[in-house]
Amino acid sequence: MGTVTALLGGLVFGLGLIAGGMANPSKVKAFLDLAGAWDPSLALVMGGAIAVALPAFALARRRRVAWSGEPMDIPTATHIDARLVGGGILFGIGWGVGGFCPGPALVALATGWWPAAVFTVAMLAGMLVHDRFIAR
């Protein structure tokens, strides 16, 4: 059961990214280019996603366990620190340079598209570098 909902979740998430235009780095950069020929599409991706997820989180708050029997594991952290802001800024710069964020990169990678492969290998390396050398 848990594996089915997770697999289906990943699949529908990926289909949504493709349908919404997120898998195309040029479209992402056209959204980030406020001063150029601006393409506001991605604001609708975010808006649509939140419109569905917001009531789901309200429902989830009342549950102790998920349908799969796994415990509800919703973040409880509330602290706002330099790592939260600095991490966001580094991520945003990388997002602006390449037009890739993690989900769309994996989706595009699965088609064997080389820019997504180059980006993803570097991203995984970045994660390892952070966890080995920067964290703590």
């Binding site: 998430f13 898998a23 580094l90 037009g99 989706v107 570097a122």
Partner: protein, 147 residues
């Protein structure tokens, strides 16, 4: 600010967003977890060297498998959209490193802090989203209009 009417895809993007929200809801209610891709990938990456640990991480592993299947399922029903990048491999390496370090440091990305964090009205996530959106807008402005 000039909207590029020819590139704007309101209905497709709204439909894509609704699907993403549905997927996040399914992973939340079905598995009790946040559909944050950075966290999911990191969990799989941490478990990777050991088969035993991978089996214990089968939930995030299944999510990643679904994500990787998506373009193949898409192609059964619709033509694959044209994708393009406007930078070379060197810049993509820099972008990947920054994204990898940034999402681990900030503990989330467009999905974890963006879609899920904003949906659960987390102030912490809102601060991260404002940081990466601001940095994204600023970076494209510098690269395209100040170069």
């Amino acid at each position: 600010m000039a909207v590029d009417g020819a590139a704007f895809t309101p209905w497709a993007s709204l439909a894509g967003g609704l699907a993403i929200g549905l997927a996040a809801a399914l992973y939340l209610l079905g598995n009790g977890r946040i559909a944050g891709i950075a966290g999911i990938v990191a969990a799989v990456l941490r478990a990777l060297p050991s088969r035993e640990r991978l089996v214990r991480q089968r939930t995030p592993l299944a999510f990643v498998a679904g994500l990787l299947l998506a373009p193949w399922v898409w192609r059964v029903f619709a033509p694959w959209p044209a994708l393009s990048v406007d930078v070379g491999p060197g810049a993509l390496v820099v972008a990947g490193l920054l994204v990898g370090i940034g999402v681990r440091m900030g503990n989330g990305c467009t999905s974890g802090h963006g879609v899920c964090g904003l949906s659960r009205l987390s102030r912490r996530s809102l601060v991260n989203v404002l940081a990466f959106m601001g940095a994204g807008f600023a970076t494209v402005f510098v690269l395209r209009h100040l170069g």
